[in-house]
């Protein structure tokens, strides 16, 4: 890359503010993207990274006002473009893949017509040529039955498939720049890797520059050439990815890197009578039948056997649909098992519903995934935590208030929070409240269903640390359900890997992470890049298994069928 070739995108001293209040949300941001370069913008929610990306295409919300600086694409100021030129830029020169594949395609339009829209707008091509281009691109992104896909509606595809289609619709126009705003956050770890790698491969072979916006440092570290780190509307640091990761200069970058979960030394394996035991557990969800016939039941769990010792943290990992959440819900008593049994401290629970399993009810609690949905919006924090003490026998009102205050202190919020309402709290604070609510009864067993996956990186690390800390202090056993393997690596003693409602492998954490036996476990593990600390306070990528390094070094493809055809009409 020589000094004199002008950058594709040049953002210079850009400031944006909320028009109504004058609050700066983006402050003097500057960076460049050169043709064919992969640049990552990393930051937490509220860092302004999405706003900057949207401003590149003049797609910022109406409430946001420009407060200085310039954005140049191809050397032209985006803000000075006439509407027609701006429309030509959008889609034609700059394409965008959005975060949420479930809502970014129009549900009422067939895939074929949706993909055709951009071509009609931006490229001159006959209907037959358009069709050939679309079919070739769909095949390229890994859609098997192209003819069927063209006539299908978005709801017929999974999230990963929709994101591929979205990618196809953008790449079809061969933009010079692809903006990907958290393109895989909503997807499973396995699918995440496939989609990102497809995106990177497509971009490389077409010479498209990519601006990848993400809060996921490991993903950015793995795929980008350069990184821009943003915090509270400012660029705090930018540079070549490897060097920046290895030797972060800014304290915020270091904090972000420190937030990467690290493996702690494992506890000595616990032996003894299991606290919670699951035997031959099956769960069937009734199928959707017609008016007079019963639909075929769908089996979510196939005879699960699992034992959890007192004080042990057992992680359940697997892709979505693997049945891990169902397992947690059966054990917590929210879903009734179709077969098998759950035993607590040697006694069966579940069959006898409330009265017989009172001991279990008092001793089993749950932390939910979504902190925005797990707290009653009409109830104060103190009320929510206090309610958990309702069934503790012989507890006076004063004693209750003390316990609530104690548990609020314990989760690092302080008793003053008892009067607050959930909407006044951030996601991390809400999750702390949810943890306090689960632990205020001092349960012996806690089911934590994806407790940190809805949180930002640094907050996620704090909440995970808190959970690990409280677990050590109170010694409750924990079923930690997660698709986030790096979190599991930090907190779990033992790991259970599930696929399609069955346990495919289980064992001590270090054994599973270092010497996985089952092919599915290996696939899961290689989908997450591992970062390891270097001596200088930074991190570098570590490939878990042989072959991963080659797989990630995506080959720069020779001109493929699509490129040849596209050259025909892309003039």
């Amino acid at each position: 890359m020589t000094k004199n070739d002008s950058p594709l995108v040049r953002v210079h001293d850009l400031s944006l503010e909320v028009a109504a209040s004058g609050k700066r949300v983006v402050d003097s941001v500057g960076f460049e993207v050169r043709a064919g370069e992969l640049v990552g913008i990393v930051g937490e929610s509220g860092s302004g990274k999405t706003l900057v990306a949207r401003a590149l295409m003049r797609l910022e919300p109406a409430a946001i006002a420009h407060a200085g600086g310039a954005i140049e694409i191809d050397g032209r100021d985006v803000r000075a473009l006439a509407p027609a030129a701006l429309r030509a830029l959008r889609g034609g020169r700059v394409g965008m893949v959005f975060q949420e594949p479930m809502t970014s395609l129009n549900p009422a339009m067939r895939i074929g017509r949706q993909l055709e829209e951009g071509l009609v707008r931006h490229r001159r091509a006959s209907a037959a040529e358009r069709r050939a281009l679309i079919a070739a691109m769909l095949a390229r992104v890994g859609i098997d039955d192209v003819e069927r896909a063209l006539a299908a509606y978005p709801h017929e595809f999974s999230g990963g498939m929709r994101q591929r289609i979205m990618l196809a619709s953008v790449m079809l126009l061969r933009p010079a720049l692809l903006i990907a705003d958290e393109p895989t956050t909503a997807l499973d770890a396995l699918v995440q890797r496939e989609v990102v790698e497809l995106m990177v491969e497509l971009a490389r072979s077409e010479g498209t520059a990519v601006l990848m916006i993400s809060h996921d440092l490991s993903m950015v570290a793995r795929y980008t050439d350069r990184v821009v780190v943003m915090c509270e509307g400012r660029v705090v640091e930018q540079g070549a990815t490897g060097a920046l990761m290895a030797q972060p200069q800014h304290p915020y970058t270091r904090r972000l890197l420190d937030a990467m979960p690290r493996r702690l030394t494992a506890k000595t394996p616990l032996v003894g009578a299991p606290l919670v035991e699951v035997r031959g557990l099956t769960v069937d969800y009734p199928g959707r039948g017609g008016l007079f016939k019963r639909g075929a039941a769908r089996r979510a769990l196939h005879g699960i056997d699992l034992a959890i010792a007192p004080g042990e943290v057992v992680a359940v990992v697997g892709a979505s649909g693997s049945g891990k959440t169902t397992l947690g819900r059966v054990i917590a008593g929210l879903v009734r098992a179709s077969g098998g049994e759950v035993r607590f401290a040697g006694h069966g629970v579940g069959a006898a519903r409330r009265g017989g399993s009172r001991d279990y009810r008092l001793n089993c609690q749950m932390v939910f995934q979504d902190p925005y949905s797990s707290l009653d919006p009409r109830m104060s924090v103190g009320g929510a935590i206090g309610e958990a003490l309702r069934h503790v026998p012989g507890l006076g009102a004063g004693e209750k208030a003390t316990r609530v205050a104690e548990s609020l202190d314990e989760v690092g919020l302080g008793s003053a929070y008892a009067l607050r309402f959930p909407h006044e709290l951030s996601g991390g604070q809400r999750q702390r409240v949810a943890i306090a609510r689960a632990l205020v009864r001092r349960p012996k067993f806690v089911v934590a269903d994806e407790p940190v996956s809805a949180l930002d990186m640094t907050v996620r690390a704090q909440v995970l640390d808190l959970l690990a800390d409280l677990q050590r202090r109170h010694g409750f056993a924990c079923l930690f359900i997660s698709h986030d393997l790096s979190a599991v690596e930090q907190i779990a003693d033992r790991v259970v890997v599930m696929q399609d409602g069955r346990i495919v492998e289980q064992g001590l954490r270090d054994a599973i992470f270092d010497r996985p036996r089952h092919a599915y476990t290996r696939r899961l593990l290689s989908a997450i890049p591992a970062l390891e600390a270097t001596g200088s306070g930074g991190v570098r990528l570590r490939w878990r298994f042989d072959g991963d390094a080659q797989a990630a070094a995506v080959p720069r493809h020779a001109a493929s069928a699509i490129t040849a055809e596209a050259a025909l009409v892309g003039r």
Binding site: L334, L375, R378, R390, H391, H423, R437
Partner: protein, 274 residues
């Protein structure tokens, strides 16, 4: 917590409704003149010193009749809305939370009732109950219950998937407690909005039924039958139609403003933001 400043819509709505309810309450005990007293010498007198709002075709004092009618109209609307909301909410929460066979059967009935236009249903029911004020209350309550059920059930269906409802069950709370403590309070906002607009519909329906001669039998005044009776004399005495009409519109305005304010007030997110 600081007391929030009263929102302008609450203030305006509150003043209007206080006026209407005050008149209704007063009208139940005292009116300037006897609302039923005939005075043929002063037939269709225009508004003036003797009769503030004029007299009707029998020389009865319009102001007195409006006050007395307010009591009847407001009472009928209030009772029918309260009973519709009560039944509808109970049914909506039960069907939405329990689902299953009970839900299917109850909702089939509900939808069958919903298929009739409310007015037609009320007409039919009045034929059964007889045209008196209790008949009207029962008819309107039954006619409005299905819409409440639908709205509440829909809200409950989305609420029961929320994790805080699961959280309550994990705590060991019974289904009944969970419903009362976590599901029902979160339905209040849509119920409040629906109830206030329904109060308006009930007022209109009562007026319409009385207008059709199926309401409270004469000579007892209601805003509806006053409006109906004004029709033949509209050219000589336009105030006969205008005053009851204004009363009805003003009450609707007041109740809607109050309903909006109530909804904002009941939303914990809005607390302390003003």
């Amino acid at each position: 917590m600081k007391t929030a400043r009263i929102a302008p819509n609450a203030l305006v709505g509150g003043v209007i409704m206080a006026g209407v309810l005050g008149c209704a309450l007063l009208g139940a005990f005292w009116t300037p003149r006897d609302p039923l007293a005939l005075d043929f010498a002063a037939r269709l007198a225009p508004p003036g010193a003797g009769h503030w709002l004029g007299t009707d075709e029998f020389g009865r004092d319009v102001a007195s009749r409006l006050m007395a009618g307010a009591a009847t109209s407001a009472w009928i609307s209030l009772l029918s809305v309260v009973s519709a909301v009560g039944f509808g909410t109970a049914l909506g929460v039960l069907t939405g939370y329990l689902r299953g066979t009970f839900d299917r059967i109850a909702m089939a009935f509900n939808d069958a009732l919903l298929a009739f236009p409310g007015m037609l249903l009320a007409l039919g029911l009045l034929a059964v109950f007889g045209a008196n004020r209790w008949g009207i209350i029962a008819a309107l309550a039954i006619a409005y219950t299905p819409s409440v059920t639908r709205v509440v059930r829909g809200t409950v269906l989305s609420l029961r998937e929320r994790e805080f409802v699961d959280a309550s069950r994990v705590m060991g709370n019974s289904e009944l407690f969970t419903m009362a403590r976590h599901v029902l309070p979160n339905c209040i906002a849509p119920i409040a909005v629906l109830a206030t607009s329904m109060f308006g519909w009930a007022l209109l329906s009562e007026s319409a039924l009385s207008f059709l001669g199926l309401g409270v039998p004469p000579p007892a005044p209601t805003w509806g039958n006053m409006l109906a009776a004004s029709r033949p004399h509209f050219e000589q005495a336009v105030w006969l139609g205008i005053f009851p009409g204004v009363c009805i519109s003003l009450t609707l305005l007041g109740i809607n403003l109050l309903g909006d304010a109530l909804r904002d007030r009941l939303d914990p997110r809005m607390r302390g933001t003003r």
